[in-house]
């Protein structure tokens, strides 16, 4: 058996897990693991032709179990996701080395477990990404779920509660997928992709419906799609800092990967068009699209209400997933490219944002948006990273988030979907509102007196953040770099490919060239700066207490930072719309289970068991005789 490139990658990944497990207690685990991630990334780079339309690489390893063949292989899709996974793992783990690590250990955290959980996550994700048939997909899927659980639960306390909630959701999702796989197996007679591809074209409508629902729900739970989104924010937010950066960047995108693989590639997203919902005008694809936009809107506006920076970001992570799905569901060249590109973009800025917030927590000890403020003068680099990140998140030029959202909007416009378009824009506007709240309440406004001596985040944390910020900007300036990978992914999953250039997209009906746009923007800033700095006197910096307050004398002990209930006017109108309906739904399901459980226990607690027995016997015999 000769090792293929894929085998090498998986081997390195496995070795990383082993190293973290065996040596992690004594040696400096963080650095070791980081270097090993680097090696994995190099191994992945050897497969780089995949990202430019190369032939898929199979693993030499196959198993034959219970009549099923298990195989693994990498194509452009896997490669693209693996690149994001390893990149975010490398940077998060780098970020964790050094001061964060010391502080984590001092506050009673289990560093060994943390690194082990991270390596397990990466390993299981690679296994999932490499899956060569539906069964190995499911195995990878479950591994990812449980590895994620480990990472989420390890902080204890609230985190464990959130993780428990997650795993319950994840199990429900897994079981839906499991059921779907069984149905597929029955109709295709095999779980190999080729067999499913041929079987999918001959499936009955009812069958296809069932599969779409089962797989959609199962994968959607991981992605945090609309009715199943509740678990994600608390689970990600409570994970130890670098862990949440990693999870936020890529973990829930595994759901998208699976959707791409199963719903888009195997069943064909366009086939889903034929699934009409009776008595309405919409079909399954519209349904998915609407789920996507509701996933954009509701979590985004929930994020706006959060007062904890990490919760806010985590909620946005859910919302941004909606854009990805939306782009994919539109499924034309630009939409799909936008959706796929957003995976990359989201990973970069979400990781940067979580890292920046963790850096703030590291220095100030809190992520409560009502207890911070004015930190820009003390942590300017972190501020810059956060700024770059939120511009990306809000999807404004010149950062990369803009490009992917532009593509999604453009495709909605091309296809003539006004409502979806507007809904997507509402999501973006909500994002802008809430990210301003984030940056304002942490970095702008009044610096609290207790934060006067705060230092900038240590370099061990700063460097990965700066790298991410650079990536966010560069891929915003030259979106052609990731778009090349995206194009080969589109090819691999059988979607139309857009006509991309280094600076954006070429199209007869309006193109985008970020090099020009950004060039002009920065030229504009330059002219603005010229006017500002040369046409006008030298400015003098004043203390923040030298501030207009209606003639009032401000002192350091007065808290005048405007942070709580930040969008009061908006909340006057829409505050009443936050009903927690999904929370209520979740609670009622839980109560129902509790109630049923109580009933069942009552059944077993009854003393007259003999009565049951006899009556059952009687009933059964009566049933037979009649």
């Amino acid at each position: 058996m000769t090792l293929t490139l894929l085998d090498e990658l998986l081997l390195f990944s496995g070795v990383t897990v082993l190293v973290a497990m065996l040596l992690g207690r004594r040696l400096p685990a963080g650095w070791m693991v980081t270097i090993l991630y680097g090696i994995q990334l190099l191994a992945l780079m050897k497969m780089a032709p995949l990202g430019y339309g190369g032939e898929p690489i199979s693993s030499a390893l196959t198993f034959e179990v219970m009549g099923q063949t298990l195989s693994w292989r990498f194509d452009a899709l896997s490669w693209y996701f693996a690149l994001i996974t390893l990149g975010s793992a490398l940077l998060s783990s780098w970020y964790a080395c050094g001061e964060w690590e010391q502080r984590f250990r001092q506050s009673g955290g289990n560093l060994w477990l943390f690194h082990l959980a991270m390596t397990l996550n990466v390993f299981s994700m690679l296994i999932l990404l490499a899956s060569g048939d539906l069964l190995s997909l499911f195995i990878g899927w479950e591994l990812v779920s449980w590895a994620g659980f480990l990472l989420m639960a390890m902080a204890g306390g609230v985190a464990t509660k959130a993780a428990m909630r997650y795993i319950t959701y994840a199990m429900a999702g897994a079981m839906a997928i499991f059921g779907g796989i069984a149905l597929v197996y029955v109709s295709a007679g095999s779980l190999q992709y080729e067999a499913i591809l041929t079987a999918a074209s001959q499936m009955s409508t009812a069958h296809l419906w069932m599969l779409v629902i089962l797989f959609g729900a199962g994968f959607g739970i991981k992605m945090g799609l609309m009715p199943f989104h509740l678990w994600q924010a608390p689970a990600y937010a409570e994970t130890p800092g670098p862990g949440s950066a990693f999870l936020g960047a890529i973990s829930s995108r595994m759901g998208l990967f699976a959707i791409l693989l199963v719903l888009v590639k195997l069943f064909g997203i366009v086939n889903i068009d034929s699934l009409k919902i009776p008595f309405t005008l919409i079909d399954a694809r519209d349904l998915l699209a609407w789920i996507a936009v509701f996933t954009i809107i509701f979590p985004t506006f929930t994020a706006m209400k959060q007062n904890d920076a990490r919760q806010l970001l985590a909620w946005h992570g859910i919302g941004q997933g909606g854009y990805m799905l939306l782009g994919l569901v539109v499924a034309d060249a630009m939409g799909a490219a936008g959706g796929l590109l957003h995976v990359f973009n989201h990973a970069t800025y979400q990781a940067a944002l979580f890292m920046a917030v963790t850096a703030v927590i590291h220095r100030t000890g809190t992520a409560d948006l009502n207890k911070l403020g004015g930190l820009v003068v003390r942590m300017p680099l972190t501020f810059m990273v956060l700024l770059v990140g939120i511009i990306g998140l809000a999807g404004l030029p010149p950062m990369n988030g803009f490009v992917s959202k532009w593509l999604v909007y453009r495709s909605l416009l091309n296809e003539g979907m006004p409502l979806l378009f507007v809904a997507a824009v509402i999501g973006t506007l909500g994002t802008i509102l809430s990210v301003y709240k984030l940056i304002h309440n942490i970095f702008l406004g009044q610096l609290r007196i207790e934060h006067d001596n705060v230092k900038e985040a240590p370099w061990s944390m700063m460097i990965p953040m700066l790298i991410l910020a650079a990536i966010i900007f560069i891929t915003g300036l030259l979106p052609g770099i990731p778009l090349a990978w995206v194009a080969s992914v589109q090819q691999a999953v059988g979607l139309p490919v857009s006509d991309y250039t280094l600076g954006g997209v070429e199209s007869a009906s309006g193109s985008l060239d970020m090099i020009w746009v950004i060039g002009v923007l920065f030229a504009g800033f330059g002219i603005g700066a010229l006017i500002f700095y040369f046409a006008g006197g030298r400015s003098k910096r004043v203390h923040q207490l030298d501030n207009y307050a209606g003639g009032h004398f401000l002192t350091a002990d007065v808290r005048y930072q405007y942070s709580d209930n930040f969008y009061a006017g908006l909340m006057h109108l829409i505050g009443g719309w936050y009903r927690g309906s999904f929370l209520w739904l979740e609670q009622s399901v839980k109560s129902l289970v509790e109630f049923l459980s109580l009933g069942m226990q009552g059944l077993y607690r009854r003393a007259n068991a003999e009565f049951y027995l006899l009556s059952t016997a009687l009933f059964v015999i009566a049933w037979v005789v009649i």
Partner: protein
Amino acid sequence: MAPMELIIELLLMPLVAFVVGMMMVLMMRRIAAKLQRRIGPPFFQPLYDIVKLHSKQTQISHGLIHDIGIVMAMGGYIAAETLLPVPGMTGIAEKGGIITLLYLMMIPSLGLALGVGQCANPNGSIGIARALTAMLAYDIPLVIVIFGVAYAAGTTNLVDIIAVQQAGGFETWGAVQMPVLAIAGLIAMHASLGKQPFEIYIAPAEIATGPMVEMSGKYLGGLFVMQCFQLYTTSVLYVSLFLGGGTTWFDFLLKSFLVLAIPVSIAYLFPRYRTEDLLRLMWKWPVMLGLIGVAFVL
């Protein structure tokens, strides 16, 4: 296009926008004065204000971000102007299209928001919170309108959108083809100007001009410049979307000033809405009109 020519265009377009914008500010103040039976400011008043503000001896800065905010507020619009075609000059309009333009128009607000945030004045922060809320209010009808126009024209390239309208004279103007969208667009545009009755974020009486509260000297001057650009951009965008742009500078400017005159004339007849009323109004009427208009287009 020769690169030199392009560079000249790129420099000229913001300059034109600034000059025209100053005249628009003047027109706005004159209209207000006329409605209140006053004489109003002299012709060069906007220029006097800007020069005076930049020539102030004391320039109070609250920090680097305060400065950068103003630079972004001006620079964002300067960049945006190059995406907005005017007669004879298209700049780089075809490189980004209307969606990019819309987003570039948000950059100044974001820059201003950052600068105001650094000032650490609660009035300013409240103003920004309200400004962003207002943006949430008027951008929804605005994007519906833009969707409708772009879909009808089959392109997001503003040059093409204008060309489509100019193809058949008056009959092919957006406002004639899509009157409902044009009305919705006008309301959204009015709100985006932040004039009465929608000036919830300036609100001098309660939050001391909100975002501008800590702005003095050239900082305020920068915002005055930004206001010129804002008026220009808004009205020219509307002209490009609905009134067929301009074939000559004369009709182009005429249309732009006329379009701007409508919301400005209405503005000074009204007191101010509360935030939630603004939201309610914006999410109800223009959205409804916009959707009806889009339904016609589809």
